[in-house]
């Protein structure tokens, strides 16, 4: 048993942490996070140069990593630095491009020249791909898409968008196809916690078909995205707890530091206990990736992180008092990020339901 990072991962983690600490302060972050195009090209190329994007895909597919471990190491640091660059969408889209043999496109994404996003969820579909409504219809040799895609992370300003759509005229259980569109028009907005999001209305849009049966691949990419979000949350909560402790040490009321009140120390201890739980469940999900336990363990992680991330965020705000409520205080943006992670790629409820679905009625392992 060894829970230490490998030497390579330690290096990657350190260099990313250093880069964000030196080049990505909260003012820079907030300037790009809340205003279109929600993305700073110079930060993006620097991240690509550090090898961050290439680490999302295996060597055989043009990258230099591609394990769940690689992804988790990177996203933990992105979380710690509260990076709002469109990395999640890129991870999801790039995995699929690479897996489907689109090596040229994948290489451009890895170099940071091209940005890709994945349009999978819909206004009424969070997690269960069998509920997707968007359709693709083949007319002669042209594919046309219809429906509305929603919560497309990183879509504003993306060069490529991959769209998951049900093949038309093939009945209820029709396969899901994957389609490529170029810089589509979108209904773009900043997210509450920063970063760009968009809906895409597919009104008969013409598209290139990359796959006519992609459900499993997409599910795998989404699970990896969930692991990324969990790791990001662990990084963000670690930083938020650190600055909460710092603040309690500095802030004086009643002639003493807030840190000297045992009632408040205990609150922080509980936050740390949950952070450790979150780290552990993320490690479990990383380990389960690619095994039969993948989906269920990832859902466990996403559920626990969803609950505890928002709870830690609420506690951190509370312990800061009024300051924690302000835009100017970096902690408030970390808190927003932690809460809103529970709204991405399925929330605590969606993932509890998925756990139950995957193993209906089974007792917990120990009890059996």
């Amino acid at each position: 048993m060894d829970f230490n990072l490998s030497e390579d991962h330690q290096l990657l983690s350190d260099s990313l942490r250093r880069f964000l600490a030196e080049n990505y302060d909260i003012e820079t972050r907030n300037r790009t996070a809340y205003a279109a195009p929600f993305h700073a090209p110079e930060t993006w190329s620097a991240l690509a140069e550090l090898g961050v994007i290439g680490a999302f895909v295996p060597e055989g597919q043009g990258g230099y990593g591609g394990t769940a471990d690689d992804v988790a190491v990177i996203f933990e640091e992105l979380g710690r630095g509260l990076c709002s660059e469109p990395m999640l969408g890129t991870l999801l889209g790039l995995r699929l491009l690479a897996a489907l043999g689109q090596t040229d496109l994948a290489a451009r994404v890895i170099d940071g020249e091209t940005r890709v996003a994945l349009a999978v969820s819909e206004p009424q579909v969070a997690c269960d791909l069998s509920c997707l409504q968007a359709t693709a219809r083949c007319e002669g040799d042209v594919w046309r898409l219809s429906g509305r895609k929603s919560a497309v992370y990183g879509a504003p300003g993306a060069d490529l968008v991959l769209v998951v759509a049900r093949l038309a005229d093939a009945g209820e259980n029709a396969a899901l196809g994957l389609f490529l569109i170029h810089a589509p028009e979108s209904i773009a907005a900043p997210m509450i916690d920063g970063g760009g999001i968009a809906d895409i209305v597919l009104d008969g849009l013409q598209a290139e078909c990359l796959s006519t049966d992609c459900a499993e691949l997409v599910e795998d990419a989404l699970d990896l995205g969930r692991i990324a979000l969990c790791a990001e949350a662990v990084g963000a909560m670690s930083h938020l707890i650190e600055i909460t402790i710092d603040y309690l040490r500095q802030r004086k009321q009643f002639g003493r530091t807030l840190a000297s009140f045992q009632a408040l120390q205990h609150r922080v201890v509980d936050m740390v206990v949950e952070r450790e739980q979150c780290r552990s469940i993320t490690i479990a999900a990383v380990a389960a990736y690619g095994t039969p336990a993948q989906a269920r363990t990832v859902s466990m992680a996403k559920n626990l992180i969803g609950r505890m991330g928002s709870w830690i965020a609420e506690e951190a705000i509370q312990l800061h008092g009024g300051i924690g409520m302000t835009w100017e205080y970096p902690g408030s943006h970390y808190a927003k990020r932690l809460v809103m992670i529970d709204h991405q790629l399925g929330d605590r409820n969606d993932h509890v339901l998925r756990m139950i679905r995957l193993k209906p009625g089974a007792p917990p392992a120990e009890a059996a």
Partner: protein, 394 residues
């Protein structure tokens, strides 16, 4: 035991309902229901309607222009207002300064100031907190030094709610550094237009502007603006805190929020199922409902105590604690109901671009904003300290 209201109280509730249905402007109620910020004018318009009916200053006695209601009537009134999405009235003039002047003010202050609160001529804000004095309010340092017929005020207040709408501020200021910190504080009324007063906005977590910083540099304030005696400010501040605060538990708001969740749950479909059919959401809502029902009765028990003259500071602490917890749980539930659709900043989209009901689109920012409930008005930790002090006193 009798959980029922009397016939008179029920009739009163009916009156309040009819009045709200008839008089509350639709556009204002719509904004409140959608969690939108209200304009200064919205609030003044509603205040004028209430004033015309004689119902504006719920806590004031009749002789000063209040309705002379009992605690139970005040409760019924505020509950119905919340249920009808009436705007929350800024408490500063009506529930804070008004009662203070009625109790501690001199005749001239009562005569000149109270009517201007009622008719909307003055908008007051509250200058208690300072950067260094939050929970430990008594450590406040804004100085007021006597100079002939004036005090000269220097210092800074912060977190001043809706100061941008106000023309006046009531402040706790330090007039003496002798003795315990509590003993050197005075209650002073300051004109925000006076030379040397500067107000700067503070942006909150949700991006909104509802609080401010106020800076005082050599501001000359007539001695006539002192309320009560010099160095009696702490007594006044404590009077305000223990002065029975209506609706501190926010039952009406919570009831409305639960109802709103159920309505939204019927409109939202996720992963092939209507949210109202999801046992997980239904169970969470049902558990909160149980808490709310208990709180409703706790509130009535404490109201009955207040009516019988047995209300204490501990009771309002209990109500504040549980009331804010229940409301924050409801805000949380409502936000979660939206799933991925909660993420975009709805103010940047047009109504026809939204995928959720317009009323619900701001659920996430409103949730973040309501984290303030457990921080202001005496944080929940300070409320626990108050209760603990009572429980563990020697």
């Amino acid at each position: 035991m009798d959980l029922e209201f009397t016939d008179e109280e029920r009739a009163f509730r009916e009156d309040v309902r009819k009045f709200l249905q008839r008089e509350l402007p639709r556009d204002i109620a719509g904004k409140v229901a959608a969690g939108k910020d209200l304009e200064r004018d919205d609030i003044l318009r509603w205040q004028a309607i209430l004033h015309a009916r004689g119902w504006l200053a719920a806590t004031w006695p009749k002789e000063h222009g209040g309705p002379g209601w009992s605690a139970v009537e005040r409760h019924i009134f505020s509950e119905e207002c919340a249920l009808h999405s009436a705007p929350r009235l800024p408490p500063f003039g009506l529930n804070m300064l008004g009662p203070v002047l009625i109790r501690f003010g001199n005749d001239q202050q009562k005569r000149e100031i109270l009517p201007r609160i009622l008719d909307g001529s003055d908008w007051w804000c509250q200058g208690y907190s300072e950067p260094g004095a939050g929970s430990d309010l008594a450590s406040l340092r804004t100085r007021a030094v006597r100079d002939g017929d004036h005090y000269v005020v220097n210092g800074q207040k912060t977190w001043t709610t809706l100061g941008q709408y106000a023309n006046k501020i009531f402040c706790l200021v330090r007039t003496s550094t002798q003795g315990k910190p509590q003993e050197g504080i005075s209650f002073l009324l300051v004109d925000l237009d006076a030379p040397g007063v500067e107000m700067r906005p503070i942006r909150l977590i949700d991006g909104g502007h509802e609080v401010n910083e106020v800076f005082f540099t050599d501001v000359r304030v007539p001695v006539a603006n002192l309320v009560g005696e010099e160095n009696q400010g702490w007594t006044i501040a404590k009077y305000l805190l223990t002065h029975e605060r209506t609706n501190i538990a926010g039952i009406g708001y919570a009831t409305k929020e639960l109802e709103r969740f159920h309505r939204l749950a019927r409109e939202i479909t996720r992963d092939g199922r209507r949210l109202s059919d999801s046992p997980l959401h239904a169970a969470r809502a049902a558990e909160i409902e149980a808490e709310l029902e208990a709180l409703r009765i706790t509130n009535l028990r404490m109201l009955a105590n207040a009516r019988d003259g047995a209300a204490g500071g501990v009771e309002s602490s209990l109500l504040k604690l549980k009331g804010t917890q229940v409301r924050q749980m409801l805000q949380n539930l409502y936000r979660s109901a939206l799933g991925s659709q909660a993420a975009p900043i709805a103010d940047e989209l047009s109504e026809n671009e939204l995928t959720v009901p317009v009323d619900a689109a701001r659920a996430a920012p409103v949730y973040f904003n309501h984290r303030k409930l457990s921080i202001f008005g005496g944080s929940n930790e300070i409320q626990r300290n108050i209760v603990a002090k009572e429980l563990f006193k020697e």
